[in-house]
């Protein structure tokens, strides 16, 4: 039987020490929802795990107008879904969280784990990218900060060095007049890996033109990615139907999907276009509003509009 030792640090420092001591023979785990699946199928067979569950004080979600939102490494996806600040100020992230698995998994899964697992299909990742998330990382040689965009290196691969821990995710406060949405495209309304996921966050100037637009795509490239070209097409422009359609077209060209059991590559590309258009339209329509969570949830997971 593939067995492993279970190590239980009670502080980040202790966790760092354990990671340093056991090197690549150990694996850090948070909710273990990815870990247990890979362990059972033999993909990951560490000699030990360093389980973060009992490190106190890491499951916070804090908001203030100056720093924005900070998410502790042990905050669960369910915590994010239920958080009222997230729902009102970061609706695309609330959409990502509510589209994620089912309640039982959401209760265990952490946002940090979703990031560090670096699956292109991670459902919180497009929204985190679209909100310009910053990662706070602590390692053997101290602390550093990295834009989330620079963290993803490839499928399942991050820029985290050996022994480093992601301790906090920070989202800057949204500009006034901002709206956003994430849509998960999958054949089922729950418990499914997204075939495509798109998050858009738009901020409008007083004259109705786009101050900024950030679009992030999931499941259509080796990593979740920003569609910078499409974003640029909208900045300083009126986000009318034609401009949004053009941005959506550019977004679909900026990705590089594969074909697999879930869908073909061309279909995925087309879904990027459709979902970019829909999320942008919704972002523009709701900019500055506080959308109801019921709407967010319905739009995020419904299989047919």
């Amino acid at each position: 039987m593939a067995r492993f030792d279970y190590l239980e640090p009670h502080s980040v420092d202790e966790a760092l020490q354990m990671l340093a001591e056991h090197g690549d023979k150990t694996r850090l785990v948070a909710g273990s929802t990815d870990f247990l699946v890979r362990w059972r199928t033999g993909v990951w067979r560490p000699e030990s795990v360093v389980c973060m569950q009992h490190v106190p004080g890491l499951d916070y979600i804090n908001w203030n107008p100056d720093d924005g939102l900070s998410i502790g490494a042990m905050a669960s996806v369910q915590d994010i879904e239920l958080n009222t600040e997230v729902r009102s100020r970061y609706p695309a992230l609330a959409a990502g969280a509510t589209s994620f698995a089912g309640v039982q998994v959401r209760n265990l899964a952490t946002v940090a784990g979703n990031i560090c697992n670096a699956s292109p299909a991670g459902d919180t990742l497009p929204a985190l990218l679209a909100y310009n998330a910053q990662c706070r990382i602590i390692g053997p040689s101290g602390e550093r900060s990295l834009p989330l965009d620079e963290l993803f290196v490839g499928p399942g691969r991050t820029a985290l060095a050996a022994g480093e821990i992601l301790t906090e995710i920070r989202l800057p406060p949204p500009a006034p007049n901002t709206g956003g949405l994430y849509i998960k495209h999958s054949p089922r309304g729950a418990m499914d890996i997204s075939a495509v996921g798109v998050a858009s966050v738009v901020s409008l100037n007083d004259d109705g033109t786009c101050a900024s637009a950030r679009i992030a795509l999931g499941s259509v490239a080796p990593t979740p990615l920003r569609a910078y070209g499409a974003e640029g097409r909208l900045v300083s422009q009126t986000p009318d139907a034609a401009n949004i359609a053009e941005a959506a077209r550019l977004a679909s060209q900026s990705c590089n999907p594969i074909a697999d059991v879930r869908s073909g590559a061309d279909y995925r590309r087309e879904m990027v276009r459709v979902l970019t258009e829909r999320t942008l339209q919704h972002g523009v329509a709701t900019a500055g509003d506080t959308p109801s969570f019921d709407d967010i949830r319905r739009l995020a997971v419904q299989t047919a509009w």
């Binding site: 089922r188 729950a190 059991v261 869908s263 279909y267 829909r278 299989t303």
Partner: protein
């Protein structure tokens, strides 16, 4: 004729007789069986889809501490078996593997992890031989042969065509002339996908050898006698040396009708003298145990301008995979549907390919046929400019018509089911853009097969009911209700015995919509015999003639003088010392008359023009159930069937690698069954036209509900957005392609098949 009001037990909801055990988690499943000294079994799957086994080196596995026994195909007798007459399969391959996943070795070890470790140490050397994965290609003369020696196999009838395992046919009338006379000819090709049964409890069994040498198998099964027969065949031991104990069944849907993997732990137990348990993983269920495989359906109809269908031709190609694990379809007649068509030519081929073998699933093949036939009906309606409902009504079978098999159609509620859904969904109706309505009509027959029952009267006035059928979806509760009704006692006075193949009389499988209908009839007759014996005894004791006695509420009484009588308890006590002895009623039967079951269904959908995704907003079904033995169980069957049908229509898709035939999505993370969130509220109408046969007029209910959704939903998609998708599932990708006009018809060379038969 029976009317529903006279029932005391039937037509009322009864909680399941096993509810308490199930709800408290104390029901015992095969994987809950723990015997002293028990070993764990693991299997080694083939990595090739067609290869000669050059050698299997089990030495390292056998040497691993904790490993007790390793077996391969040559450890079994050199005997082929089959699911029917054709014996095309070794229980474990001896020389040639035919699909990726086929078990080629089994290990028994002290624990599962050690067994798995040993499996990983087994080295198999293969030599690939040409293979074929696509059934249409497999029928071509140049294609690789899956079974080069097929003609020498026991049970092979006559040469049917290259790689063809079975051919069913049905003909009537002058088909060519009827097509010439028709005003319009409509032709289509449909394809449906591979489907996994999706039962909750993976296959599981424990094998033990009693001190006497008898083999005992605890199994998750729908067919204990069929496992017994299968084991007897492949192990070359008499059935009397085997006892099969059916445990609680965590779902089967046809996947557990026959011998599955029980022979592996059985042989390992015989070799080691210790109990051996095998519990499959979900991946093993997906890759080793037969699912349904893709079906291609060519269908052509000749129609008159008034909507009368005068001719039908259907050629159906069932992929059966490596072995005929189950009959490819449940009868040729489903190419006609629930209609009267005077001239027809129907052909159904079962074609071998190098992929997992075909298994049974909830009326195997009929859902595929219904998708084709009922989509085709809509196509016909649109071609001749007739309302799709009117077309169905115009051609629907009626009492006195002759069914495809030649049986006369008895009274039934087909027309009533159609009328019920028309009213409920308000057909026809103009909907907003992207929304649509679709219909489907489903036909099936109540299943028969060996059915036996014995009822004995206990001296507290209750009865014990013994049948050989394993409980499936609450069938024990329905059988108890039938017994209670026939005996005139409350449900609570019927004890349903736990049974095994030693104890209960031989009985057919729990499947094919036969348990309540056929087995229920046996129970009813056994109860009637019990009542007769109770009356005879009472007559003797009371000194009155039998025909002066009535039987009601657990008591036999003098009709002219009701206070004078004897309770069942008194009679049971008296019987102990009576001339006739303890009271037992028994019944046994095998075949039942043709009793059709009809259901009409309607879907309302919304189609997303951007993504192609389809959402089912409403789903209505009306089914003629005859009499609802236990209404909530009936509705449960109807709900479950429609849910499975919606999965088949929209998301479930067992995919196979085009080169190796390997299952590409062997997990519930990638094989997508619908969830509550994906489903509309259930809307069920029970039509009750009592059957002329069957217990108290009940018809079978279990199978038809799952047939309709693919066609009803496809028809609704057409109504919504004007595209006809002829291939399942109706994924967003497929529907969007159709909306964009880049959707090709499925190629099908019907000429070649006609020519092969000499039809030009």
């Amino acid at each position: 004729m029976t009317t529903t009001t006279q029932f005391k037990v039937l037509e009322q909801n009864h909680p399941r007789v096993d509810a308490y055990e199930k709800v408290t988690g104390r029901a015992t499943y095969a994987s809950d069986v723990y015997l002293p000294g028990m070993l764990a079994c693991k299997l080694l799957p083939s990595t090739r889809n067609h290869a000669r086994i050059v050698s299997i080196d089990t030495s390292a596995a056998a040497a691993l501490p904790g490993v007790r026994c390793v077996i391969t195909g040559t450890d079994f007798p050199d005997i082929r078996f089959g699911s029917g007459a054709l014996r095309d399969r070794y229980v474990m391959p001896r020389e040639v593997v035919n699909f990726v996943g086929e078990p080629v070795a089994a290990v028994a070890a002290d624990d599962e992890a050690t067994a798995q470790e040993a499996i990983d140490l087994i080295k198999v050397e293969y030599e690939d031989i040409p293979s074929v994965v696509n059934p249409l290609a497999a029928m071509g003369e140049g294609a690789a042969s899956v079974h080069p020696d097929l003609e020498s196999y026991e049970g092979y009838g006559f040469t049917l065509g290259h790689n063809v395992s079975t051919l069913l046919d049905a003909d009537r009338g002058d088909v060519e002339q009827a097509f010439r006379d028709a005003d319009v000819v409509v032709e289509d090709v449909y394809r449906s996908q591979g489907i996994n049964q999706g039962f909750l409890e993976p296959m599981a069994c424990v094998a033990d050898v009693e001190p006497s040498g008898r083999l005992v198998i605890y199994a998750s099964t729908q067919g204990p006698y069929q496992i017994r027969a299968g084991l007897a065949a492949v192990l070359e031991i008499p059935v009397s040396r085997i006892r099969v104990v059916p445990m609680e069944l965590g779902g089967g849907f046809g996947a557990k009708l026959r011998l599955a993997f029980e022979a592996f732990p059985a042989l390992l137990a015989m070799r080691t003298g210790r109990p051996v348990k095998l519990v499959n993983t979900r991946e093993e269920v997906f890759t080793m145990n037969g699912p349904r495989l893709p079906v291609t359906n060519y269908i052509r109809s000749g129609v008159m301008n008034d909507g009368t269908i005068v001719a039908r031709e259907a050629y159906t190609i069932f992929d059966v995979g490596a072995y005929l694990g189950a009959g490819p379809n449940s009868g040729i007649g489903h190419g006609i549907g629930a209609y009267r068509i005077p001239n027809f030519r129907l052909r159904s081929y079962g074609v071998y390919t190098n992929k997992i073998y075909v298994g049974s699933y909830r009326a195997s093949g009929v859902a595929d046929m219904t998708f084709a036939v009922e989509s085709h009906m809509d196509h016909i309606a649109h071609q001749i400019g007739m309302d799709a409902y009117d077309l169905r009504l115009h051609n629907a079978l009626r009492e006195g018509d002759v069914s495809v098999s030649g049986a006369v159609v008895p009274s039934n509620g087909l027309i009533e089911t159609l009328e019920a859904i028309k009213e409920k969904i308000d057909w026809p109706r103009q909907l907003e853009d992207g929304h649509g309505l679709g219909l489907a009509l489903c036909e099936w027959r109540s299943g028969s097969g060996p059915s036996t029952a014995a009822i004995s009267v206990n001296d507290d006035g209750t009865v014990s009911l013994l049948t050989g059928s394993t409980d499936i979806s609450g069938s024990d509760t329905s059988l108890a209700a039938i017994a209670a009704e026939a005996l005139g006692i409350p449900m609570g006075s019927v004890v349903v015995a736990k049974r095994d193949t030693d104890m209960a009389p031989y009985t057919g499988q729990s499947g094919g919509s036969r348990v309540v209908y056929s087995q229920g009839t046996a129970v009813q007759r056994a109860a009637e015999e019990t009542v007769q014996k109770l009356i005879a005894l009472a007559a003797e004791r009371l000194g009155v003639p039998e025909d002066a006695l009535g039987c009601e509420d657990g008591r036999v009484y003098v009709m002219d003088n009701e206070p004078q009588g004897l309770t069942f308890a008194q009679l049971a006590a008296a019987s102990i010392t009576s001339r006739g002895g303890p009271i037992i009623g028994t019944a046994s039967l095998s075949s039942m008359p043709y009793t059709p079951v009809f259901a009409a269904q309607a879907a309302e959908v919304k189609v997303d023009r951007g993504t192609g995704q389809v959402k089912v907003l409403r789903y209505i079904q009306a089914q003629d159930v005859g009499v609802a033995i236990n209404p909530m169980a009936v509705e449960g069957q109807l709900d479950g069937g429609v849910v499975q049908g919606i999965g088949r229509a929209l998301t479930e898709d067992q995919q196979f690698d085009p080169d190796t035939g390997a299952v590409r999505n062997p997990s519930f993370a990638s094989y997508l069954m619908p969830l509550a969130i994906d489903l509309p509220e259930s809307e069920v109408v029970l039509i009750k036209v009592p059957a002329e046969d069957g217990p108290f007029g009940a018809r079978a209910v279990a199978e038809p509900p799952g047939f309709g959704p693919p066609a009803a939903i496809a028809n609704a998609v057409y109504d919504a957005v004007g595209v006809r998708v002829k291939q399942l599932p109706l994924s967003g990708e497929r529907v969007l392609a159709a909306l964009n006009g880049d959707y090709d018809d499925i190629p099908f060379d019907v000429e070649a098949l006609r020519l092969a038969e000499g039809i030009i």
